[in-house]
Symmetry: C2
Subunit: 217 residues, 2 copies
């Protein structure tokens, strides 16, 4: 497994659920910040090596073998993000880039010991579930805030977009994982939402509500 192959597997894994069929060449090229022709070459290679299914012009999907590797990389990525936040005092908007590098370190023992050192965390700093060592992922029962109804009592449990800009916006408005609030008003005109959080009212746009995962409590 080369670094590039690992990154492609991860990208395919993330894109697969967004499209009933296989992942398209252009979608992968966009995700990987590369050209469609490069994607075709790599997809062909992954397919020859048994990590992906691919028929010309028909998009790509992962084999079980490919999926297993992708999940393993994601597990490492998220464990490292927990390490950076919980042990090295990184904030949640600073960890992704470093985790992108750390996820490729190869050592079974390193990851199992890190997992133990972090006391077997189940979620990363963005609320995403950490696959266990067998690849099982505990999916949480969460919805987008934009789906919540007026009067719902919510707990923030994750973010859809984990860009630094969005996370900093949340910080500025004192919204973090675990924050509790009530949907006090939904404005039909622009789909903005007023939430009551820690005794203050906060109006947030539909851009925000459609990137925040919550659990109704």
């Amino acid at each position: 497994m080369t670094l590039s192959e690992e990154n492609y597997l991860k990208a395919i894994y993330h894109l697969e659920p967004l499209s009933k069929k296989g992942v398209t060449t252009n979608a992968l090229a966009e995700e990987m910040q590369t050209k469609a022709s490069s994607v075709t070459d790599m997809v062909k290679k992954l397919s020859e090596k048994g990590y992906a299914h691919h028929k010309k012009y028909q998009g790509v999907t992962l084999t079980n073998k490919g999926k297993g590797i992708a999940i393993d990389i994601i597990r490492k990525h998220r464990l490292w993000e927990v390490f950076l936040v919980n042990k090295l005092n990184f904030s949640w908007d600073e960890v992704h880039e470093v985790a992108e590098q750390l996820e490729h370190i190869k050592s079974k023992k390193l990851i199992s010991q890190l997992d133990a050192f972090l006391e077997f965390p189940t979620h990363d700093p963005h609320g995403d579930p950490i696959p266990d060592k067998t690849g099982k992922i505990n999916t949480v029962d969460k919805i987008l805030l934009s789906e919540a109804k007026t009067g719902d009592h919510c707990i923030c449990v994750g973010v859809q977009d984990s860009s630094s800009n969005f996370l900093k916006y949340l910080d500025k408005n004192k919204i973090a994982l675990g924050s509790a609030f009530e949907v006090s008003h939904k404005e039909p005109f622009d789909n903005s939402v007023t939430i009551r959080i820690e005794n203050r009212d906060l109006i947030i746009s539909n851009i925000i509500t459609s990137n925040l995962f919550v659990k109704i409590s």
Copy 2:
């Protein structure tokens, strides 16, 4: 800086002190487990980029710029080794290979935070000094056990060879960094040495004594 360039700079840095002149192509090839022709190519590149001095057939030395990068890689390598031993319960013979990967992770903040998290260690698990963030290295006053005289009271402060086999031999014989012992006899015939350590006598060969660093106390 590519991964390969970093590894060459580190190798040159380690070999430079062993040879008054520049580091030879063959020595570098041996250290890097590669062919002399590959070394020539890389040395030419490092030289063009200003990391090394190189005149055809005359060996290679580092520029200050190259030395700075090499020291930075070594700093990261040794900090990660401390992390693996002190926090993740690796033993000192298991850390090198993983640190070889971790040393190439690029993040200023990661290293400064890791340094703080480890409480600013000065030496790695093998007794080697950890350069500070400015590149300064605190050289210790240590000698090889083979240089010690009969009657000398020693404290083990480092290893010359940090191969897994050697470190496991030391473990087996309960010799660790910080162990104190006295040189009770030096056998002229084979240069083996008898040491008195924790109330037992231990005979060790000249292979061992010439790979153990001690401080005379």
